[in-house]
Symmetry: none
Amino acid sequence: MTISRIAILDDDPAIREHLTEIVTSCPEYDLAGSAPTIARARDLVVRKQPDLVLVDVGLPDGSGVDFIGFVKQQSRARVLMITSFGDRETVVSALEAGADGYLLKDSSPAVILDGIAATLAGGAPISPSAASYLLERLQGDVPQRAQPDNPDAAPLTAREVELLQLFARGMSYKEAARALDISPLTVGNHVKSIYRKLAVHSRGEAVFAAVRQGQLKMG
Amino acid sequence: MTISRIAILDDDPAIREHLTEIVTSCPEYDLAGSAPTIARARDLVVRKQPDLVLVDVGLPDGSGVDFIGFVKQQSRARVLMITSFGDRETVVSALEAGADGYLLKDSSPAVILDGIAATLAGGAPISPSAASYLLERLQGDVPQRAQPDNPDAAPLTAREVELLQLFARGMSYKEAARALDISPLTVGNHVKSIYRKLAVHSRGEAVFAAVRQGQLKMG
DNA sequence: AACGACTTGCCATGTTTATGGCATGACCGG
DNA sequence: CCGGTCATGCCATAAACATGGCAAGTCGTT
């Protein structure tokens, strides 16, 4: 594993130093540079092409959020927000802009190091209080259809899902049977199971129910 | 601050014990109970009304994901997933179903304790590798697979969509006809139009195609 | 070894679909 | 006013489907 090169964007000298220490204390990270302003950070990113940029939000010459887009456009660097701004607006807009993680500044050095490692590994470290805004979105979009719970609960078997896919693509019993190399009569039996599990009585209803429950994906 | 009461749902006795130790080692948490199956966990949640439930995904009698809805419906407990299932599908569906956090089982006891505290405090602890799936959604801006566009492009009429909805809910021609107060024979004519427009030959295929094209919504 | 599940196979019967063609009235844009 | 689309209606038929019951072999779990 090669050494990862990290850049820092924060206007507070004390915090820059703090982050610098955290980064350089780790043998597998080098500091590619640190900048107090977005303007200088642009330079840094373009010239040094770091692997990861730690970004604050409140900068003298603008918001760190606006800087994210630049980074993503000009390099392949990952972006980890480390800031004290924990409001919904900032969190969501930063992540929408392409940030790969969002840590609050009260995070311990250990958490920050973990976060850096996770980001470089393709993960997305997000402080719990920030993540809750994400969930609001996700859950808000989907108004919670809680199923009335079939008594005969419904995990379809692989075979059954396979059949539903064929039906969704328009196959008849006979065609599906040929596709799976089984008897059309067996297809009928699988269909019985599917109908029982989904509590339905036709292929149209079954396909719909399966899609709704996420047991049948579209491609 | 009163003591928080926590319940555990996990089929592995060793893990139950592990989590029990973590929870009870902390003076501000009590163990409200632990269950190896969804069935027993339902009981637990209803009777003890814990403040937080730690839930695994792979249970003998179903997926922990399906259990989330029950918890949310029957109590005000928060739900923290602690599982080794880190795949996109599971993560997203769990969080959509209402989970308040998602930690992978390789998390250290300290991380789990932090996660429990954060969840009870209204936060949403999410392991970085799981959170990356959330960001995909947010940043992906819904990539919207572009359709190859049928030559006989297909805006279904209101009537046709109406019919498809009834089919998706399992109605036969006759039933749909009664529901719409038209002749079953007319239903057949609408079906012909639908099939032509969607280029399909069965209700199953039609429902699937319509859902995929966003012309048929689920509810 | 026994139990449950998934998968496979068959029979039989009544119902429903899929698809062709043909026709009327309403309505809208050119 | 004419052409097109929409919604409505009817006839007919071969094919496919929905559903019941029955059974054997392979699993993994108990």
